[in-house]
Amino acid sequence: MLSLKNILSPLVDKKNLITIILVASFFAVYRISGGRIHGPELPSSDNFRSSISEEASSELDYSEMDSISPGAAQARTKQPSREYEKTDSELADAFNAPIEESNSDLQADNDSSAQKDPSQSDFDDIEKSLGLR
């Protein structure tokens, strides 16, 4: 017969009471160890604040990067960057130089290359050294 006494009597029985205590202790250990059953995690206020701070720090990083000049940024890098910096400065000077000066420079280079062919002289030297002439 379904009655409150018939329902509660197995629970208050000594044997079943010890079982209930042991199972409850296990669940307590489970919770203390970090286990739980939950739904999908929603962003809490603490998590929201931390995410905002992370975004702010990332924005600061980007702003720092924007304020850095190309030369200063390259100066922070390793040794090979100095060569690029030097090349950049030379290119900047070359671009900034007047057009006539660049043309005269180019003409001078062409004249010097036409007068002397360093590869031919080297070839002659090699022939002389081998005794072919």
Partner: protein, 177 residues
């Protein structure tokens, strides 16, 4: 004996070693889960109509769980049932294989008790009942509380049955040649 029935189960103090092991594993689970946070795994348990339920499981909690199952299984896996006709031992209630042994009071030849030193201190032991059919113990049930009282009770019931049972008088008829 009236129509009353007596159900005898294993007592919790017979599992004292397993209880100590369970307590030790509980403390070990807590300390190891905090020492190794990577042992706490998180995953989707099930999904019903869009509702997702996640489970965060410390892997070390499986150790006390196994000890708890080992602890509770003998208590609920079998019992000894004494009624007006005899003794019935049911084993394997929660197991795949169940065994039921019944012996009538009239067929009981001897009732044995087995207790170690710890079992004598905690007053629990093993009861063995042998019948006239076999030489060995036919019915054995360990972890029983107050085994000496149960032995005295069963012997008194057997003696009462033997006194009450009518004696069969065999009349020999001599057939003369």
């Amino acid at each position: 004996m009236s129509e009353q029935e007596l159900i005898i189960r294993r007592v919790w103090r017979s599992q004292i070693g397993t209880i100590a092991l369970y307590i030790l594993l509980c403390f070990a689970c807590i300390s190891l889960s905090r020492t190794f946070p990577a042992s706490v795994v998180d995953g989707l348990l099930f999904k019903i109509s869009g509702l997702e339920v996640y489970l965060t499981l410390p892997l070390f909690s499986l150790l006390p769980l196994a000890a708890l199952v080992t602890l509770c299984l003998p208590i609920y896996d079998g019992y000894m049932h004494v009624d007006s006709r005899g003794i019935e031992l049911v084993l394997g209630i929660l197991s795949l294989k169940q065994r039921i042994t019944r012996i009538r009071f009239e067929d009981i030849r001897s009732i044995e008790i087995g207790q170690s030193i710890l079992e004598r201190l905690l007053d629990y032991g093993t009861i063995g009942v042998s019948s006239a059919a076999t030489d060995s113990v036919e019915l054995s049930f360990n972890g029983v509380g107050s085994p000496r009282e149960i032995q005295d009770f069963l012997q008194s019931e057997r003696d009462r049955r033997l006194r009450v049972a009518p004696k069969n008088i065999i009349t020999e008829v001599a057939v003369g040649d």
